[in-house]
């Protein structure tokens, strides 16, 4: 191994294979049986439990934890999957510290919530490891539905529709299904190919045909889909990436964080994944943190995350921020880039401190420059390539109730649709609820 964290430029192999596999191992290793029993014992089985209210998919948390207590983890998994078919992924990626665990009464009592996320993983892992798919399809209805996008929203929608006996064709522009589960979520949250394994497990319900390499706007048009299918669900996520619009953005080694993460997620061998010596990440969300942390884990010598507003305004949770800090990422808040410096390659970024004033954020005169041989931009994604005719609201597809768009027969959910946080679990809820609405409507029409 010739490269080290101090090798200049954007190069692979800064760390050896062992160090990398240690770094990219499971962030929260699964609970073993004993740990699960002890963790489950702490749940009070609250009435009208606040944790359930805080879960976007309303999983019956007290019930599934009680089932773990009662030595029935498989039954617990069923309880979870009934509400959230991607309960396995959500157990790994949900920011529980802002959702169920924040609401847990034992967070209030002792500052130490019941470990809901890890118990959820314990239960779902048990059933999935046994290869059991706990649902059977209803009798075929003969209705056909197109689901565009095989991310969490599309998968949840497709599964629920298939469960009700409808035939689903699920299209995705990419080669592999899973959406950001496959291409976006940090490696250490979903190790060992879990995203694909989960899709395969989910498809065991039957009645879902997956067609990859099919992009709406290219191979497919909404009009054709509407003509051919009884209903259409759009779960296309946010395919566009926001630009910095800053001088020097065109320099080499300035890249979108989502692309960097996507490449990393698809990399069969992390010793071949290149990363800079001095990495600067611009942004303050989950993507920024994930890009920064993973750069550091790949062996970058210094990684700095710069966010234009105060730390409290960062959409990455305090848990995520602490994780970044613990991995050695430096976080600077209240500064925005004014210029990317360099010749052929980027060499540094000049920032100005910001001031929050009555007319928004202003750049101050005080500037500083960070050395950078790689810059990752993570200042947000936007809707891209959405067919005309759909009303938009705040740059997303406008929806009413359970995902009804302005076009009859077309539903939307997940990141591409207005409303809800951009989270895996929210996408699952919206996909599921749209499916129930489609099912209700088609059943009524079919009578």
């Amino acid at each position: 191994m010739s490269n080290t964290p101090r090798t200049p430029g954007v190069v692979p192999g800064r760390l050896d294979r062992d160090a990398l596999s240690l770094n990219f191992g499971d962030l929260h290793p699964p609970l073993d049986d004993h740990e699960a029993m002890v963790a489950a014992d702490r749940c009070y089985f609250c009435f009208d439990a606040p944790c359930v209210t805080a879960c976007p998919t309303s999983i019956d948390i007290p019930l599934f934890i009680r089932q773990i207590q009662a030595d029935n983890p498989g039954g617990a998994a069923k309880t979870i999957f009934e509400a959230n078919i991607l309960g396995g992924m959500c157990a790994r990626v949900c920011p529980t510290e802002q959702l169920c665990e924040e609401a847990c009464v034992r967070e209030a009592a002792e500052g130490r919530p019941v470990q809901i996320g890890r118990l959820q993983r314990y239960a779902t892992d048990t059933l999935m490891a046994a290869g059991v798919h706990p649902f059977t399809r209803a009798a075929p209805t003969g209705k056909r539905i197109a689901v565009v996008g095989a991310g969490p929203a599309g998968l949840a929608c497709a599964h629920r529709l298939a469960l009700h006996g409808h035939d689903v064709v699920m299209f995705d522009a990419k080669e592999k299904p899973g959406g950001l589960n496959e291409y976006g979520i940090a490696s250490y949250k979903t190790v060992e190919g879990f995203a694909q394994a989960e899709v395969e497990w989910l498809m065991q319900i039957g009645g879902i045909e997956l067609r990859t390499g099919q992009r709406l706007g290219h191979e497919l048009t909404l009009d054709d889909l509407r003509g051919e299918y009884d209903a259409v669900f759009l779960g296309v996520g946010l395919a566009g990436v926001n630009a910095l619009r800053t001088e020097g953005e065109e320099h080499a080694h300035v890249r979108d964080a989502v692309d960097f993460i996507g490449e990393l997620r698809q990399s069969p061998d992390l010793t071949r994944m290149a990363v800079g010596r001095d990495v600067v990440v611009i942004g303050g969300g989950m993507t920024a943190v994930d890009a920064a942390v993973q750069s550091k884990l790949l062996g970058a010598e210094s990684v700095t995350l710069v966010y234009r507003r105060g730390r409290e305004a960062m959409s990455a949770s305090s848990f995520e921020q602490d994780l970044a800090a613990s991995k050695g990422v430096r976080i600077i808040s209240g500064a925005a880039p004014v210029r990317l410096i360099g010749d052929a390659h980027v060499a540094g970024v000049e920032f100005a401190y910001t001031q929050d004033g009555p007319d928004g954020l202003r750049l101050s005169d005080e500037t500083f420059t960070l050395k950078a041989d790689q810059v990752l931009k993570a200042i947000g994604q936007h809707l891209d390539g959405v067919p005309g005719g759909l009303d938009l609201e705040g740059l997303k597809i406008a929806v009413q109730g359970p995902g009804r768009t302005s076009v009859p027969g077309v539903w939307a959910g997940g990141d591409c649709a207005r409303g809800g946080d951009d989270l895996t679990v929210t996408a699952v809820k919206e996909g599921r609820d749209a499916a129930e609405d489609i099912h209700a409507l088609l059943s009524r029409a079919g009578r």
């Binding site: 009662a70 029935n72 039954g75």
Partner: protein, 434 residues
């Protein structure tokens, strides 16, 4: 999917889980909510005779025993039977039964030990459309001092007599609810059977004082500085209840008598255990009182999943499965020789096993350098205490010595054949031929 539906002496319910006669079944409002949550049946809070209703204390009626983390292990109560007018209860029962025809509704009754009292109430109970009656011969407090409840349940002749009256005056199935406050549960059970009862249910609560307030020197629950013994229930009483159920299930006289198992049922597993020891249905009180009606979902799902896993297609296939394995001590195999084994990978080196064995058992655990705890086979009598006190599941296990090997403790070869006390040479009454 296993079929949980149950036909218990002609009383049908979609699952074997009934709420026991107690506060959860005290009125229409609760019972409707219970049925909506999924309970298979209810035994209505015990009805008394016509007349001025019973009065309850107006201060605390429950005492409690907590485990770690304030987990409720047992509750005791000094509550009496229903304190609402008889007709109100009967009207409500009729309405509930009409709206939930598929659920079991059983009337629990406690009236004085006089034929006319039973004769008077039974037709009125029948009019509600309920599916059966349960005779409350159980409550250990308050009512017993008035010659009812456990005062009747402790006298087998009375049980038989009242059961006979009930069989004579109603067509409904008659379940006799037994009190555990008696030395040998088989006597009242036999009496119930002789009286023609269709089934027995057990246990009712156990006479108890949960604690004493050391400042006021009053037993809890304290009513103005005084306390009275109450009835104990909840997980703490399950072992007592299981044994009593098993005793009835394997008694020559009462074998086959249908049993509704009660006492500490909290999860599906408890229920499965009662069923395996001969119960055809189970009743739940404390668990519902502690956690609410929502626990039924865990119970039905858990029982169904377990039955699927084991291939039991219906509840009746589970009932009594373990009964043949309940035997008397003298028939246990004395050639079954085991030793405790500590899994060093799981051991967290707390030393509880050592303290227990060294101080109170057989000095059979060695503490080696580095706090490595090891069982000394030449001392271990396989008492199980270390396993019971170890905080880690399955860290210590019992391993059987293969026949032919020498037990280092006794120096004797382990025999392959079964041999029990009745044939043991040390037994003066030994029936051994040689």
């Amino acid at each position: 999917m296993a079929d949980l539906s149950t036909n218990f002496v002609g009383i049908k319910s979609p699952n074997p889980f009934w709420l026991a006669s107690a506060p959860p079944t005290d009125k229409e409002y609760n019972v409707r909510r219970a049925f909506e949550a999924g309970w298979g049946g209810v035994v209505w809070k015990t009805l008394g005779e016509e007349g001025p209703p019973i009065v309850n204390v107006n201060g605390p009626r429950y005492g409690v025993i907590h485990g770690a983390d304030r987990r409720v292990l047992g509750i005791n109560n000094i509550e009496l039977i229903t304190d609402r007018p008889l007709q109100t209860n009967l009207d409500e029962m009729a309405r509930v039964k009409r709206d939930f025809p598929d659920r079991a509704l059983i009337a629990s009754i406690m009236v004085p030990c006089e034929e006319h009292a039973w004769k008077a109430i039974l037709p009125r109970v029948e009019d509600t459309g309920c599916d059966g009656i349960e005779l409350n011969f159980g409550c250990p407090h308050g009512m017993s001092e008035r010659g009812m409840g456990s005062a009747v349940g402790q006298v087998p002749e009375y049980i038989q007599m009242v059961a006979e009256w009930c069989k004579a005056y109603t067509y409904l199935p008659v379940i006799v609810k037994l009190t555990p406050n008696i030395t040998d549960i088989r006597y009242p059970a036999r009496a119930a059977k002789r009286g023609g009862a269709d089934a027995v249910s057990l246990i009712n609560t156990i006479s108890s004082i949960t604690s004493v307030n050391l400042d006021t020197m009053s037993p809890e629950p304290s009513i103005d500085g005084k306390g009275s013994h109450g009835g104990y229930c909840g997980p703490a009483v399950k072992p007592i209840a299981l044994n009593m159920v098993a005793e009835i299930a394997r008694d020559d006289e009462t074998r086959g008598l249908p049993i509704s198992g009660i006492g500490g049922v909290t999860t599906w597993r408890d229920a499965a255990e009662f069923l395996s020891l001969g119960a055809g249905s189970v009743q739940v009180c404390t668990a519902a009182m502690v956690y609410g009606f929502g626990i039924i979902k865990e119970m039905t799902a858990g029982l169904s999943d377990w039955m699927d896993e084991k291939g039991y297609t219906s509840v009746s296939k589970v009932t009594g499965r373990a009964v043949p394995n309940v035997t008397d001590w003298q028939y246990l195999n004395l050639n079954f020789v085991t030793k405790a084994r500590i899994d060093q990978d799981l051991c967290i080196k707390c030393g509880r096993c050592y303290a227990a064995c060294e101080d109170t058992s057989h000095q059979a655990i060695a503490i080696n350098p580095g706090r490595v705890f090891e069982v000394k086979d030449d001392e271990c009598v396989a008492c199980n205490l270390c396993i019971d006190v170890c905080p880690v599941e399955d860290c210590i296990t019992m391993e059987r010595l293969a026949p032919g090997t020498v037990d280092p403790r006794t120096g004797r070869r382990v025999e392959a054949n079964y041999a029990n006390w009745t044939t043991h040479p040390n037994n003066p009454m030994s029936k051994a031929a040689e």
